[in-house]
Symmetry: C2
Subunit: 155 residues, 2 copies
């Protein structure tokens, strides 16, 4: 359930590498080699990340990419949004917009709330934590604590 796309996955890995070398500027080729990913694909992902303002770039010889801001200020939600756009959990455009049945639309609204909750939790995770650098996921721990105690079927 709830997959993220490979591109988003790649993006996280690449951003993590950039986060690990905040002072340096890495080329797409270098990042591809480090991550064992195809150069064209890596290039594509980096271009997208640049468009969405997560990385800054320098053109020309001795150019490359670096994080646009500190890893602590980049969230998982931003990475998801950058690669997959702000698509919601559910697109309430069922069929021919005949959502005119009240209980049906109730369902849609409930999913939206779930979606919101997930978005918020994704905004709590920073690249620093995703990259496994320093930053203990304090807020994240708080989230898990808050959640604990509910029904616990299936683990």
């Amino acid at each position: 359930m709830l997959r993220i796309s490979k591109m988003t996955d790649y993006a996280t890995v690449l951003l993590a590498r950039l986060a690990a070398a905040p002072d340096r500027q890495l080329t797409a080729t270098q990042l591809a080699a480090q991550s064992h990913l195809g150069a064209p694909t890596v290039s594509k992902v980096l271009k997208q990340l640049h468009r969405r303002g997560l990385v800054s770039s320098t053109l020309g010889l001795r150019g490359g990419y670096r994080l646009a801001r500190p890893a602590a200020e980049i969230t998982a939600a931003q990475i998801l949004d950058a690669l997959e756009g702000p698509v919601a959990l559910i697109e309430c455009a069922r069929q021919t917009h005949q959502c005119s049945i009240e209980s049906t639309c109730g369902v849609g609204r409930a999913w939206q709330r779930v979606n919101l909750a997930i978005r918020r939790s994704l905004q709590e995770i920073t690249l620093l934590e995703l990259a496994g650098l320093g930053g203990e996921p304090v807020r994240f721990a708080a989230l898990e604590r808050a959640l604990r105690g509910g029904r616990a079927e299936r683990t």
Copy 2:
């Protein structure tokens, strides 16, 4: 970001209808008409829900479907699992399992934790709430309260 499949969406709508009529037994055709969905598709979804034990069915004339247990005991996580299987947010089978780079695998592990947190929050939501019937989403409110106070970029 993070879409659920149309099938899961349909499933929720159908389950909500069943939840609204706990005493009755509805046929796939009836449910299809009520929900403005194609009969074959509805049938397919219901079969899947039956396989996963979320609805019970009666064969033959005057047969049909009903919830296998009270709506309050069916969670969003169970619905997701029933339709999409327990697929994780990230399948850490990148390339040829060359996840041997420590920071890369750190990323994978972090995503798993995110995944877990999302799963837990989905286990807090019951069909009762999804269907908009009675049951105020108390635990859900608790979750949102716990999350509030974090960074709040982009709403």
